[in-house]
């Protein structure tokens, strides 16, 4: 595939923090969809004389992330100015963190199938987002427009160690990291909208360990784009090197349309950011008591939780992973399972990962928007488990619970779905089924006994799902033999 070359991959993930206000001022950071420049003030528009004030919540969310990623958190951290000029950077410098980030030297464990991978985290730091530049036409004139709504939104950058990794491993890493950030409630995980952004650095190491120049790929707004662009670069760089050429150190972008990376159009300047400590902000003093408090609020991380679901509830690893992918779904499962312990946990897992997720998918709803209280699901599954209603009736009830929000017993009563297990009624029902299907009766008697399934189905159908399938089956078998 890539011949004698081994890809070395490093990731830079930018994640907007889910704070109510911006990093250094009181403006709302929920600017999505707002008209341009309606979420800005003197501070985030870089007016002369305005001063930044650190958003304490943003620092907490950054620290929470650093702790979750097993980073070393220093006693004191500070902000620095990163100097460069662009119209969407109103101060002409970005307040960021250079040599004293809030976290360094951590790792993230994640799973691909049975394999657990540990990828090193170089650092976690806080900074501010820039405004947004749009190049467009106004009255036939080419113009660049800048919107400062995004300017100053709290941003966290997570930088991984460069490691020998394949594209799939990189994709799964970002997927796992995204899951962690969403579990922590620090980021919404929206790659498409850009509230989470991924840049990758990739170089190939030759057969004798020789390092080649690295290429940075930007604009990766999906996990697929990340994986495909890495695969493309490994192939492209491998081909260049195999042909005796060199790889140019450059920044490339991923073209979704062409399925390839292309050199960035922007002029490449040799950037010298001239970092120096931000004099407008005193150093951040991080107290052990604050870290302890944050650690106390930290939710169980997805991989740990998934393992616990297997050991504690006896779920299959597959179900455990599906349920823990999103924290609200895992929470839902546990609340439902706790509501009625007479129903085995795997039944809950089956129904949630099956019918409930299907319904969510159809309605394009997120896991936190499940309209059925977990206690109500527990009631429904209990009705099925105790044989009060059949499984197929249960599916109808679930559908209706999803749309109407009513409780299971109310729907069961109204639609008279309680299972008929009373033999007299079923005696008549099975007689009718046998009379109506002489062909199948004939086949059965000739030894094709699996037509019994179809006969049970007929009986269920004519009882509108209310007949107890096991009792029906027993009756049918008795009558046929």
């Amino acid at each position: 595939m890539n011949g004698p070359y081994v890809p070395v991959v490093g990731l830079e993930v930018h994640a907007q923090l889910l704070t109510a206000s911006k990093m250094f001022c009181g403006c709302s950071s929920r600017y999505s969809g707002a008209p341009p420049d309606t979420h800005c003030c003197a501070v985030c528009a870089g007016m002369p004389g305005a001063l930044p004030v650190v958003n304490a919540r943003a620092v907490e969310l950054g620290l929470l992330t650093a702790l979750a990623l097993h980073c070393t958190v220093p006693r004191a951290s500070k902000f620095d100015r990163k100097n460069y000029s662009y119209p969407d950077l109103p101060k002409g410098y970005q307040i960021s963190q250079y040599d004293d980030p809030i976290g360094r030297g951590g790792f993230l464990d994640y799973r691909i199938g049975d394999r657990v991978i540990r990828w090193g985290i170089t650092r976690v730091h806080l900074e501010e987002d820039t405004g947004k530049t749009t190049h467009t036409d106004v009255d036939g004139r080419e113009v660049s427009l800048v919107d400062y709504n995004r300017s100053g939104v709290p941003l966290m950058e997570i930088v991984t160690d460069p490691e020998m990794r394949m594209p799939e491993e990189a994709r799964e890493f970002v997927s796992a990291l995204r899951q962690v950030l969403m579990y922590l409630g620090v980021n919404d995980g929206d790659l498409q909208a850009g509230s989470m952004r991924v840049d990758v650095n990739i170089s190939l190491t030759g057969p004798n360990g020789e390092r080649n120049p690295k290429v940075e790929v930007k604009n990766l707004n999906s996990l697929r784009a990340l994986e495909r662009s890495l695969a493309y670069e490994i192939e492209r760089q491998g081909r260049l090197l195999a042909g005796g050429e060199t790889v140019e150190q450059e920044t490339r972008g991923w073209s979704e349309k062409e399925e390839k990376t292309v050199p960035q159009r922007t002029k490449e300047y040799a950037h010298d950011y001239r970092y120096f400590p931000e004099p407008d902000l005193p150093p951040l003093v991080i107290r052990q008591a604050d870290l302890d408090r944050l650690t106390g609020t930290m939710p169980e991380m997805p991989m740990t939780r998934s393992g616990r679901f297997v050991s504690q509830y006896g779920l299959t690893p597959f179900h455990a992973q599906v349920l823990t992918r999103e924290r609200p779904l895992a929470d839902y499962f546990e609340r439902a399972a706790a509501a009625d312990r007479s129903v085995p946990p795997r039944i809950y897992a089956n129904w949630i990962t099956g019918d409930l997720m299907r319904l969510l998918g159809e309605e394009q709803r997120a896991a936190e928007e499940i309209p059925i209280p977990p206690e109500n699901l527990a009631e429904l599954l209990s009705l099925i488990e105790t044989g009060e209603i059949s499984g197929s009736a249960g599916k109808q009830v679930l559908d209706e619970m999803f749309t109407s929000g009513q409780a299971a017993h109310a729907i069961v009563e109204r639609r008279q779905l309680r299972q008929v297990a009373d033999s007299a009624a079923l005696d008549t029902l099975t007689d009718e089924v046998l009379a109506a299907n002489p062909g199948m009766v004939d086949q059965y008697r000739k030894g094709k006994t699996n037509v019994i399934q179809a006969l049970v189905g007929q009986a269920m159908k004519s009882s509108q799902g209310r007949a107890n399938p096991q009792v029906v089956r027993d009756l049918l078998e008795r009558k046929l033999n």
Binding site: A42, M47, R274, Y275, F276
Partner: protein, 490 residues
């Protein structure tokens, strides 16, 4: 008939409180005087007479209702680097000639809450970079003691306005001496508070770790009164100190008996003008005669303070001035692309000294030079601070000259930046250490004012003001007024 423009803040306060004069009368008298003197002085970039009179009317009403603050009705001037909503704030620069802030600096709000009357915005060296006021895009300011001489800088307009009675008091800013040096050269009192004592919010930044706002007045008591109003914590400035604001006026007891006054050897070296030396030495004798004890001390790192100041302050300035790019406000000259727009705008908008410091700041932070310059400068800064810490273990205040020479002729040093920079050799260490100092008139040398600098511990403005006030009461040097003032008002 009393000359209303000769009043100090406390003098005017008494007359206003007793209803002997109105704020409107007082304000009008100052506006008239500004009209007469400005053609010669150029202390103001903009006079806001209508606003001042409207504020005076409101102050008179408030005083009638008995709701007046300490500064109510008293006309003053603001250095044109302090943001004023609706009034252009130029920083003495072409690039901000038409920039109108949408918000007030915290100090401006505090003055307004106290009922202050703002006469206008004073001239200054561009972005507070300079020691002579010759770097203003709006022309030099002339020293009222001798119109051919500079008033010092960068708060030269504020100092001149106060010295010439074009304002009762003014606010300036001090990054390396920009309040104290012009105060010394114009015979006024100039206080640089402890870094963080006064909020910098709305002060257009030159060097953020050094900038501080302070009063320029005609008496130490007035400086104490103004500081009491503008000082204090501010949630909008993270570097503003959370220390309570003492009653500075109450600290002016006149009693300095037993006080230990440090005399730093390094402040009386080769560069000091001999006449200035005599004046300052006499000032020290006065303090001794009042019961203070002179203690020889050494501040060995002082000699490196100036050169490190010219590493740190340009570095911060380079970043602080990056926002003047023609994109959002201020001067904007269209170019073929964004880069040429930046270049054209900044080429036309900034003066030579500002450009020099931007280049200097860019250089000292560049890859490969950071350790040799910026990091080294920060280390020296720590040494400067330790010098003062050690000294203040032995003494209560430190006294020396504010400047090496009295006011020099306009044009004498414009072609020699290094000579110009030496003006701040005695004031810069105080900013580097983040402590406080006040320059108080100490008499004349060849007819020109000389200032004595009283340096104090961080947040110990009370002691330096007490010393300055005692000195002033004993000598009356602050009562000397420039000769032209008498001529013009006659």
């Amino acid at each position: 008939m009393i000359d209303l423009t000769s009043l100090t803040l406390s003098g005017a306060r008494g007359l206003l409180d007793r209803r002997e004069i109105s704020s409107v009368e007082l304000t009008q008298a100052h506006l008239d005087r500004i009209d007469r003197l400005e053609p010669q002085l150029n202390a103001y970039i903009r006079v806001t007479g209508d606003i001042a009179l409207a504020q005076a009317v409101r102050a008179d009403e408030a005083m009638r209702r008995g709701e007046a603050g300490e500064l109510a009705g008293i006309p003053m001037a603001l250095k044109d680097i302090l943001s004023t909503v609706g009034v252009p704030t130029t920083c003495g620069s072409r690039i901000l000639e038409n920039y109108v802030p949408q918000y007030n600096a915290t100090v401006v709000d505090r003055l307004a809450a106290s009922g202050a009357v703002v006469l206008g915005k004073t001239n200054m060296d561009e972005f507070a970079m300079g020691s002579s006021n010759e770097n203003s895009a709006f022309g030099p300011v002339h020293n009222p003691w001798c119109l051919e001489r500079v008033p010092g800088g960068s708060s030269g307009g504020s100092a001149t306005a106060v010295a010439s009675s074009e304002a009762v008091y003014a606010l300036g800013t001090d990054t390396g001496g920009s309040i104290r040096q012009p105060a010394a050269l114009t015979g006024t009192v100039g206080l640089k508070p402890t870094y963080g004592r006064v909020s910098r919010y709305g002060l257009v930044a030159f060097a953020s770790s050094l900038d501080q706002i302070g009063p320029i007045t005609r008496t130490v008591a007035d400086a104490a009164a103004v500081l009491g109003v503008i000082a204090g914590p501010d949630p909008r400035d993270s570097t503003a100190l959370n220390a309570p604001v003492p009653d500075y006026s109450a600290a002016l007891t006149g009693d300095i008996r037993g006080l230990r006054v440090g005399i730093p050897r390094e402040y009386f070296g080769d560069g000091l003008d001999s006449e200035v030396r005599v004046v300052v030495e006499r000032a020290i004798e006065v303090l001794q005669s009042l019961g203070a004890r002179a203690v020889p001390i050494s501040l060995p790192s002082s000699e490196h303070a100036l050169s490190t100041y010219y590493v740190i302050s340009p570095a911060e300035a380079m970043a602080n001035l990056a926002r003047y790019d023609g994109v959002r406000y201020g001067l904007s000259l269209p170019g073929d692309d964004i880069w040429s727009m930046y270049a054209l705008t900044r080429e036309a908008g900034f003066g030579a000294e500002v450009k020099r410091r931007i280049i200097l700041g860019t250089y000292v932070l560049s890859a490969g030079y950071y350790d040799a310059y910026y990091r080294k400068a920060q280390q020296v800064r720590t040494l400067v601070r330790r010098d003062f810490d050690a000294a203040f273990g032995e003494v209560d205040v430190i006294v020396g000259p504010t400047t090496p020479t009295p006011a020099f002729p306009i044009g004498a040093k414009v072609d020699d930046p290094l000579q110009m920079y030496l003006n701040d050799v005695y004031t810069v260490p105080i900013n580097m250490a983040g402590i406080t100092a006040v320059s108080v008139p100490a008499g004349l040398a060849s007819g020109l004012p000389v200032g004595v600098q009283i340096i104090g511990r961080a947040l110990d403005e009370e002691t330096i003001l007490r010393v300055g006030d005692a000195f002033e009461r004993e000598t009356g040097h602050n009562l000397l007024r420039p000769p032209m003032t008498a001529e013009v008002s006659a």
